[in-house]
Each structure stands twice: as structure tokens, then as C-alpha cells.
Amino acid sequence: MTRNFPLGFHIGAATVFAFILPFVVPSEVLATEILIFALAAIGCNLLLGYTGLLSFGQALFFGAGAYFAGLMSIHLPFGLFTVLLISTIAGAAIAVIVGFFSIRRAGIYFVMLTLAFGQLGYYIAFLAEPLTGGEDGLLSVVRPSLTIPFIAKFDFATNTSFYYVTAVTFVMAFTLLQRLVDSPLGSVLRAIKQNEARAEAIGYQVRLYKIAVFAFSGAVTSLSGALYALMLNFAPLSNIDIETSEVILFMCVLGGLGSLYGSILGAVIFLLASDFFAELWPRWMLLLGLMLVMIMLYMPGGLWKSVCSLFARLSGTDDTVKKGGANG
């Protein structure tokens, strides 16, 4: 068992990261987007990196969060906190349903079920035009304000103010989920990923654990979708399509499975590279694809692992050094 870092360390790391980010990336909007997709990639990592569940339906949760937040902001007098909270809970509820049915099948059929649920969500959003705007997306989403009774009322019309809303949400969600992966629940998830049959045999009801991790994944992914709709003032249909699932999955695998920091890094690199290549060349997707292929080929453990082993080598605590020392 590796020693867990104390919670304060993670809060500090996430806060410092969120504080510095807008000063080092080209725009505040891009910084906001990075934090949002980092949360979505983390949601994916909980399933894939920690539990071994490959979901191709993450866009369903992301898109649902976007629509819920958008619709509430248009039709209901809720404040920001309420809108984000309800979107999060709704995402968890949807994920419980998707998880409940999908985990009845294993392997490739499980993957196909998550894909099918994702497609189902897409068609529902497409057909429910009066509600979701169908192909045109949900327009004129407004950012709800935050009222602290008798004290103050904040609204978040500017990019800067909305960045700070996202940053605070990010730090809170990241800390909570980092705690989750360090918790007894996290240890059971890792056991399930390693050897599901043995986990069940020693007394863990694997089905319930999988549904639970779906709930957390759905919750954080839906929260990120909600923030995205508020950021764009718009909930496009593409939020809930297969390509969004792909992007989220890609960031997650790119950064590295089994580390939440990896997911953040995955989102950073993916979005920065997209932004950079997009200015270079109109066919930038090609360059992005090429870069991803290279990383997958030459850094199979993901970026985070490569960064960690680089640091380890620089500071002389290389894995091989350690092993050699213990044996010799």
C-alpha cells in the first residue's frame, strides 16, 4: 500500500494549479475549458482507470448536465449553487440507471451497452426539440447568480469571474474525488479492476461497487457539462454526441489511467494542442491525431507516468534504483 498524501496537499496542489493556469494559457476561456474537461476526464478515469470499466457513453452524462443546467437557468429562478447541485445529482441518477443495466454484461457487451445508452441520449436530445433546441442546441443559456442572503449577490457575466466559479468548483470536486480514490471504497475499486472474481469471492458485492462508481462518474461528468453550458451560454447538441465521449476518453487515457492528476494533464495537453494546431493549419485535426498516436505509442502508461518517472530519474529515486537497493 502506498502512503496517501494528506488532503491538504491535494487541495493545495489543485488550488495552485487553478490559480496559475489562466496566466499561462492563451485565454481565460481556454483555462475554463481545461478545468471543465479535466473534471470530465477524471469522471472517466474513475470508471476506466480505477475500476476497469470502459465507458463509451460519458457524453450522455456531460450532455445531460449541460441541458439540465441550461434549462434550469432559462426556466427556473435558481441560483448558481442550486443549478450545479441539481445537475450533479441528476447526472448521478442517470449514471446509476446506465450502470445498473450495462454491468449486467461483461467485456465488449458492456462497452457496447454504454455506447448504446449514449446514442439513446443523443436521439432523445435530438428529438426533444421543443425542450433542447434539437439540432440548433439550447440557446440563450444565462449564468445564474450566486446570492449569499443579506450579504451579497454575485453575477458572473465576465470570463474572469466565471473562471473563478469554475476554479472553485474544480478544486472542491477534485479534492473530494482524490479522497475517494484514497479511501476504502477506492481500494475495493482497484481490487475489482485487478481481479473481479476474487473480489467477489472474498466478500465484495462487485455489482454494487460498480453502480456506486458509475454514480460518482456520472455526477462529476454532469457537473462539468453544466459548467460548460454556462461557460458557452449555450448547450449544443454536440455535447451529447459520440465525439464528446471520445474526447473525454482520449484525455483520460492520454493523461494516464489510475491517477487523477493524469486526467488533469490529459485535458491540459489535449486542449492546448488543439488550440495550438488550430492556429497553425486548417486541417489541424490531422496534427492532433498524429500527436495522440505518437504519445500512445511511445508513452503507453500515459503522460503522467512519463512525467513522474522523469522526475524520479532526475531526483535519483528511480524505480530501478530503488529495487536494486532493496535487493542488494
Binding site: 476504502p184 471504497l185 475495493v188 482497484r190 469471492a201 454494487l208
Partner: protein, 250 residues
């Protein structure tokens, strides 16, 4: 005579049309080491899979300490006192030795596994017990070693240690010595003898020497049925058993 701690009544298991176990009725008495032997494919592992709930029964009953458990799902049976090890080593390979054992202990408190708001403590009763089990099983290794990097013999011991973590009333051991070197067998014999003081052991084993050494009672299976039962001495004199093993090295 006392009631058996584990009892199967006409336990039958079919895979499709194939009877892997046919009306198997055995009584395992408390604090004994009960051997189960038989040629390959006799249905010994299938019997364990039924006892541990890994596969559902086709028909029949299983009583553990007077309680019917035949229909209980697999994951609650360790809580009821049934522990098992696997014939084919089944560990959490990329986790440490300590974590493998700790997980097996944590599983006894199902609610604990859902705690997500607390960090895993660095000291706990589960961890203490893991050290205790490691010591008594004679597995003298760094607890931070990954299970995958243990030698085959060490993995077999860890396999048994994991089953012990559940503090079972009845411990099902499926060929604990399989693939072990001949030098490791005495250690296993010593371990099995010491287990008698704390739980009942049902032991599947091909090593007849080991069975004769440690078992109080032996059940012999062939083609899914029980063909003989008795003390090791009685069994080795049994004609039916000799025929069953004809051509095999007994």
C-alpha cells in the same frame, strides 16, 4: 455424536447435461481436517465452487453450522464463515502483499467498503491481522512487495493466507501445494496441522503423502460422486479406491 459443522445433502451440479456433482452428501466435523481426493475431473473443485457459491447449485442443500446457505450469494458466504483458496492462484497481482490481505479482511465489514470520505488508515485492525497471518503462515517477505513479483510457492502461500484473513469457520483449500516444490510440502503440513486449532479445514489434495499425514477423514470422489469415505488407513485399503486410481500414482 456432535452435529457436523458443514454438511451437504444430495448436492448436485449440472453443467448443461453434464453432471459434475451427483447427489454428493458429506459431513465435515468441527475441528478436523477433511480430505477430498479423486482423479482429475472427479468434481472436487466443482464441489468447492458450490460450497463457496461461485456457481449456483442445481439441487441439494448446504448447511454451515446448522444454517442453510445453499442459496446465499457468493459474496455473503465469507461473512457466514466460509473461506476458500483457489486451485489456480487468484490474487490481486498489481497490489502489494499487505493490500491483498487487508482487502480480504476489510470485506468482512461490507459497509466499510463504501466509505469514500475517509482516507485508508495506515494502521488498522485489518493491517495488524494481516501481519499476524503472514507470520503464522511463515511467509517471510517484505509486505510492500507486489503479489505478482512473488515466487510461485510464495503466491500459493499468499493464496491460503488470503482465505485465512476471513477468519473462517470452515476453510476450503483447493490443492494448496499444486505446483509447489517438494521442499515446500513439509511447511504446508506444519501449517495445516496448526490450523486445526482454529478452524475446520476441507482439503483437496493430490499429494497422497500429505493427505495421509494430516487428514482425519478422507472422502474419495470419482465422476462426480462419492465412492468412499474413511480414515486415511481405511481409504488406502479400499478396493473401489484402488480401482478408481488404477494406473495413477497413489
Amino acid at each position: 455424536m456432535a452435529d457436523p459443522i458443514l454438511q451437504t445433502i444430495d448436492l448436485t451440479k449440472k453443467y448443461g447435461d453434464f453432471f459434475a456433482n451427483t447427489e454428493v452428501s458429506i459431513n465435515v466435523m468441527a475441528d478436523t481436517i477433511h480430505g477430498v481426493i479423486g482423479p482429475n475431473g472427479a468434481g472436487k473443485t466443482t464441489l468447492f465452487n458450490c460450497l463457496a457459491g461461485t456457481v449456483p447449485l442445481t439441487s441439494g442443500k448446504i448447511r454451515l453450522d446448522g444454517r442453510e446457505i445453499g442459496k446465499k450469494p457468493q459474496h455473503v458466504r465469507p461473512l457466514l464463515g466460509m473461506g476458500r483458496s483457489f486451485q489456480v492462484t487468484s490474487l490481486f497481482s498489481d497490489l502489494t502483499v499487505l493490500e491483498n490481505l487487508r482487502l480480504a479482511s476489510q470485506a468482512l465489514q461490507p459497509a466499510k467498503g463504501f466509505v469514500f470520505w475517509k482516507s485508508l488508515p495506515e494502521v488498522s485492525a485489518d493491517i495488524d491481522y494481516a501481519h499476524h497471518v503472514l507470520k503464522r503462515i511463515g511467509l517471510d517477505i517484505e509486505t510492500s512487495t507486489l503479489a505478482a513479483s512473488l515466487s510461485h510457492g510464495q503466491q500459493r502461500l499468499l493464496e491460503v493466507a488470503m482465505a485465512l484473513m476471513a477468519r473462517p469457520k470452515v476453510l476450503l483449500l483447493d490443492e494448496p501445494t499444486s505446483g509447489m516444490g517438494i521442499d515446500d510440502v513439509p511447511q504446508m503440513i506444519k501449517l495445516l496441522r496448526s490450523l486445526r486449532k482454529e478452524c475446520t479445514v476441507v482439503l483437496i489434495e493430490h499429494n497422497i503423502h500429505l493427505v495421509t499425514e494430516v487428514c482425519d477423514i478422507v472422502t474419495v470422489m470419482q465422476l462426480g460422486t462419492v465412492i468412499a469415505e474413511g480414515t486415511p488407513a481405511e481409504i488406502s485399503a479400499d478396493e473401489a479406491v484402488k480401482t478408481a486410481y488404477l494406473g495413477e500414482d497413489i
